[in-house]
Symmetry: C2
Subunit: 167 residues, 2 copies
DNA sequence: AATTTTATGTCAGCCTTGTTGACTTTCCAA
DNA sequence: TTGGAAAGTCAACAAGGCTGACATAAAATT
């Protein structure tokens, strides 16, 4: 199962267990870095990573419903509700009764919520921008490609759905 | 701050906020996929992700000390200790008093621990292998490059340290 | 019109995994 | 011999997952 250095049949020599393990570790360490900057900001505001995720996706799809957010985030409604309630209570998110379907709640960021989201996002983008710059355009394309392949199929579909019309 | 589609000064046109945001989301969804398979196994065994991380790094550096593991994992000793204790109690990890320094504990996997680690790792590697295969060698190189750039500097150093002699 | 389903919210309670703070034991090294 | 590092332990707490049960309103179906 382990092919330390041999040239595989079709240029697949890079797929040794050791290489894969390094990839796994890289993913672990990188994700830590990825969340480090927003985490600092969140902590001083008394929020957590869960709040950040909610803010991010409400920003991304204004007017989204609770159910929608639920499946995107992959948590239970009780878990999301707790987060959402504090965000509404603190005046960061607005929850309005739906037009067509009055059972639904349409979620959007308030000005205050948008401000925090922007601050968090900017911190995270700063790091990603630096990483992208240092790695170069081709590396970025590869990065994105591998990440997409790593997603669960249904999430990949959801993710790729918002691709074409990225004006 | 937003350059929707313009060709930047030096081919940096890909660094729009929108592109960066997509990168952020990709990271989020991919990490979920990345942990999904081991998580399933862990749950049916009554362990959590923290146990997996400990097993992984003890496997990677047998005989490592608690302090070493502490800085690698980036958690407090109390937090790690709880995880470590259950692993020792369940007979997955052996904690032996150090030779030179008897204050230290040298950690290694038992046969049982190695078996679980291998099972978890194989599940994770299976997904990563599939992603690597689908994305191709160049994408993989870029993926690794960006991930390394995304790490905190000290973690990047630690990570890159185990690179040369990877046979 | 009556019934069922859906979307959401909420209460209660549990688990994992992170945190701080205080304190002890061991034992190396200056 | 004494200071400090390494490790462990106890207690208390918080975030953020989870399940289960139940309430309400609105929509959809029969």
């Amino acid at each position: 199962m382990n092919d330390a250095s041999g040239s595989g049949s079709e240029g697949l020599l890079y797929l040794t267990d050791e290489q894969l393990r390094k990839g796994i570790e890289a993913m672990f360490f990188a994700y830590r870095g990825f969340t480090a900057d927003p985490d600092k900001i969140l902590q001083e505001m008394g929020f957590g990573r869960a709040h950040h995720r909610a803010l991010h996706f409400i920003h991304r799809t204004p007017g989204t419903t609770v159910n929608n957010l639920l499946t995107t985030l992959g948590v239970t409604k009780q878990s999301l509700n707790r987060v959402l309630r504090t965000l509404v209570d603190e005046g960061l998110v607005e929850s309005r009764v739906g037009n067509r379907d009055k059972r639904e709640r349409n979620l959007r960021l308030t000005e205050k919520g948008a401000a925090l989201e922007s601050r968090l996002s900017e911190a995270q983008r700063r790091r990603m921008r630096a990483a992208y710059r240092a790695a170069g355009p081709e590396a970025v394309a590869g990065f994105r490609k591998v990440l997409e392949e790593m997603m669960d199929a249904d999430m990949r579909r959801r993710f790729q759905a918002g691709k074409e019309g990225s004006p």
